[in-house]
Amino acid sequence: MEQLKNQFQLEVSKKFRRFDFHPVQRKLYSYDLSEPPKLLKRFLGIADVVIQPESKEEVYEILKIAKKYRMPVIPRGSATSAYGGVLPYKGGIVVDFTRLNDFEVDEDKKLLISGAGVVWWDVQKELVKRGLSLRVYPTSAPSSTVGGWIGQGGYGVGSLKYGSIAENVEWVEVVDFNGIGVKEPSKFVGLEGTTGLIVSAAIKLKDYDDDRALAFNVNIEDSIKLMSKSKAHTAFFYNDKYVELLKETRSLKIDDGNILLLTFESVSNTVSDGDEEVGELLWQDRFYPFRMRKISNLICVEVVLPIQKLIDFSKKIEKLPFIVMFSKTDALILILLTVQGEVKYSTWLQTMKLIKIAEKYNGKVYSPGLWFSYKSDKLLSNFEVLRSYKREVDEYNLLNPGKIFPFGPIHRLIKLADLVVR
């Protein structure tokens, strides 16, 4: 065993320029934003090695080594998600994609051809200089990577008009055990690298236009009406409890009560009323949901519901601070739970209770990741197709095991807790 380990280390050292076996570095590449309770932590492994590939060919070399030594491979961008997608659950090789950070722009086709490690906001700044802009980007854009968000899937800024990230990816370039190739994105977006490692992608762009943000003091019913009529590209609803927290943590000069924020490309703005000053304040704040942690440790629960169920669901959570981000058809709700001291199992039960309530309103957890992989068959409409593809390309279940496709004890433990929660 020890000999095999030495052989593995020697081979990694010979093949790659940027790698690290130090225990602290390995630990530092074994977390994300989630705070698992001790009970779950004991089932989580840590990385055996961290490698930073500098080309897609190196990514392929990593997979060859992984297959040879039967080591799991865990892709990692900026690790800004909280679903356990980047956790080396069973140990293995953590592949830090941040060095694949080249991009080019096809101005005629309005496409960004981006390496997986490119940070969304870095590329947006460059696009703006060329009169172009991303159509959608995550609210963690100042640090999250192109590969990270595509791997995670979901909604972001711009999704009201332009849809989810899945609708904005033209193609992905993927490395699997068979080689490197350009593929149609549907078997890879939101799959956390379980069906292949995304090394680059083509992202749809739009012409740049100044954003104009307007705020409205309206309740959730009127927010839905206003949002539906508007041509906004982004709509956020902040409930009164959230506004209270915002005022406390950010010293923002805004009125009490619920707020709807609509943001338009200035050419398509047809709404004339609304508070521009508050709108701009909240718009500038869109990247900073964690500012609330300044006053207390917080856990975020994210659920997605059909918009028509939002009003009823919101009544069930009205005592908690929450934000809604609208897409064309769905509402992504981010609910904040205050935690005193460290995160305990009971905090997770509370989280699951909220998810369960959402499920009663046709809602679902935002992403399966590791923690909710036992729900994947319900969350992904083509789950069986994906599972059979996974078996086809990943014979030994080495591509990010335990994510999306349930494996090991963690999903069973959480499923058990799910059964207990009422």
């Binding site: 225990p23 570095q25 530092l28 590449y29 934003l33 942690r293 440790n297």
Partner: protein
Amino acid sequence: MMDVEVIENSNKCARCNYCRVCPIYTVEGWESASPRGKLYTIKSLVNGEIDVDARVVKELFKCTTCGSCEVICQVEIPLINLWENFRAHLNSKGYILPVHKKLREKTFREWNPYGESREKRADWFKDLKNLTSTNSDLLYFAGCTASYRTLSIARDTVELFNKTGLDFNYAGVDEYCCGSPFLRTGQRDLAQKLFLKNYKKWKEMGIRRIVTSCAGCYRTIAKDYPKIAEKLDYDFDFEVLHTVQILDEIVDEIDFEDVDVKATYHDPCHLGRHMGVYEEPRRVIEKMGIELIEMEKNRENAFCCGAGGGVKSQFKELALAIGELRVKEALNTNADYLISCCPFCKLHISQSLNNFDKNINVLDIVEVVIRTLNK
């Protein structure tokens, strides 16, 4: 015992990674080098999940204390203090990096971290002696770098004071290192010793106001000395200024030549993010008739030169790699001059320029003022 504040604040980290703006992380690219990674390391050490070893200590000292992480932090963790407090904790446990230890030894011998002879500290001033007034309560504090490395800054400052009729006094060989390198690297005992030596001399001289050319000295004397004084139960009733603040006050009375040059301005971290002095140098540059072209990262988002926090001394290549990134930004402006307000930034940026074909004149703001005065 570790500072409770350090523990509480390291637990607050949201792990959003917005602190990737860190110059060390920008160059090194490993989590261990990022502020987020360092906070997680501290948390893991506190929880007994990892052990301290030489590598861990080294990683924790890879920080220029530039404060860009503190500016961007969503949770508003007072990170500069946190890094300094944790380094002090490591020092108290005997973890000190070899070059930092050497700086300490040199300073105990000669009262400057360069290890230059104390007797030569005021050599730059020899032929300017007649310009001082022993009656003045305004002290010029040149600092170690301007006294031993970038002498023209000190000389030009004195010439400027003379030309504008500003009476000042100077402690000569009785000026001691302010202690900044030791506060930043957690060696608080030595910083306190240096405080006491300077303080005693200033009181003997009847000083009320102190003006310094160095951003690091300015931060230390204006922000750290009052805290040390409070701890020791000393009065600290000095007014502390950076040269650029004096310049900003008198610039309207100065007669400048007409110039046709473009300049960019590098915000020293200790003057900008640490002390909030952003507009004064810009006003002075504009009043001189120089066209100011900002670098992409400026004011509170300015990129560090790479020298501070003990990085230049202990991690030379890393410091130079950071300096080169800043030089690239400056060269992209196509300016003729890169102006700054810190001898240490000037020294390091000039050295970082060595590997470039293109050139830019790196000068302190006082040197530019002297060059553009109407003769």
